[in-house]
């Protein structure tokens, strides 16, 4: 373990790298802070620092940034000005912004998908075609804006299979082929719309809207009044989709990055 003793700042702390991705700050034996570096399924390294004092945050961030190779990322709630300032002072810059929307399920009226398109509800989709569709849309995104511009994925994907739980997906079917999907996860009382995707050659026909409306209708009938969704600020189509159904912006998260030094 490597320990660095800081004498400036209040409190003065010792920082020890206890594991390759874990740093601990100690104030005379008392835990004063902790920094972690974790690798996302896409290979990007994300940092976090928890500290009770700004000076300890600065010292932990400095140690981590001095040790780890670029590029490095972190995410911050944009209303947390102190944390945002801390990372910016450490040398990270804002790379992208995600709006968190509160989506009222009451907005869901009769679900009318585009002509020739049917919606298969969550839990009824066939796994094989679902996984194939997921591979296709991810390849299309990767070939255009890049998956790193999409909502973050933090669960590991064994053997590159990104459909962790097929029962969470509803799909749009056209001519017997899966052409669009939506994933909704409900861990607490606030369900999260985690992914909406339509094959590139079937976009701009209202399929995504049909999937979202179907999902909101299902949630509404289950007695749930609102859901949440995150949308990349640069994604004009997704922004228009959610704002068009009455979703309102509740918060924003920014991803910061340190580029190569």
């Amino acid at each position: 373990m490597d320990t660095v003793r800081f004498t400036e700042g209040e409190p003065a702390v010792s920082i020890t790298r206890v594991e390759p991705g874990l740093w601990q700050a100690s104030d005379d034996g008392r835990p004063a802070g902790r920094g972690e570096a974790t690798t996302r399924p896409d290979g990007r390294v994300f940092l976090s620092v928890d500290a009770w004092h700004r000076s300890v945050f600065d010292q932990l961030a400095r140690e981590m940034l001095a040790t780890l190779p670029d590029p490095l990322h972190t995410v911050v709630d944009e209303t947390d000005r102190e944390l945002l300032d801390g990372w910016q002072q450490a040398g990270l810059t804002i790379r992208r912004r995600e709006w968190e929307y509160v989506v009222p399920t009451r907005a869901a009226g009769p679900v009318v998908p585009p002509p020739g398109v049917a919606i298969v509800p969550a839990g009824s989709a066939e796994e094989g075609p679902l996984r194939e569709l997921d591979r296709v849309v991810r390849a299309e995104v990767e070939a255009t804006v890049g998956w790193s511009e999409m909502p973050a994925e933090v669960l590991p994907h064994p053997a590159g299979d990104t459909v962790v739980d097929p029962s969470k997906y509803a799909v749009a079917v056209e001519d017997g082929e899966y052409v669009g999907l939506i994933r909704v996860v409900q861990v607490t009382r606030l369900p999260r719309i985690g992914l909406v995707a339509v094959r590139a050659d079937r976009q701009r026909r209202g399929i995504a809207r049909g999937l979202v409306m179907h999902t909101l209708d299902v949630l509404h009938r289950a007695g749930i009044k609102t859901a949440s969704a995150e949308v990349n600020e640069a994604n004009a189509a997704a922004t228009a989709l959610f704002e068009g159904i009455g979703a309102r912006r509740a918060n924003s998260t920014v991803e910061l990055m340190r580029h190569g030094r």
Binding site: R34, E36, W52, T79
Partner: protein, 73 residues
Amino acid sequence: MAGKGGIEVEGTVVECLRDARFTVELPNGHHVLAHISGKIRKNFIKIVPYDRVLVELSPYDLDRGRILFRYRN
């Protein structure tokens, strides 16, 4: 500093405040001003009122805390 010497206690979120902070009520009725841990932030876990959470209390100020974990319903 989960599990590393801090005082950890379960509580219920009663209010979402500005600046990504929350008021958490502990079983003894005490209210703590808490922010979320980096791990929760990195995993995009959303905290809303009535969520049951695990809070680490600050050793410097027992009125402050950090939300380490959100329990499932």
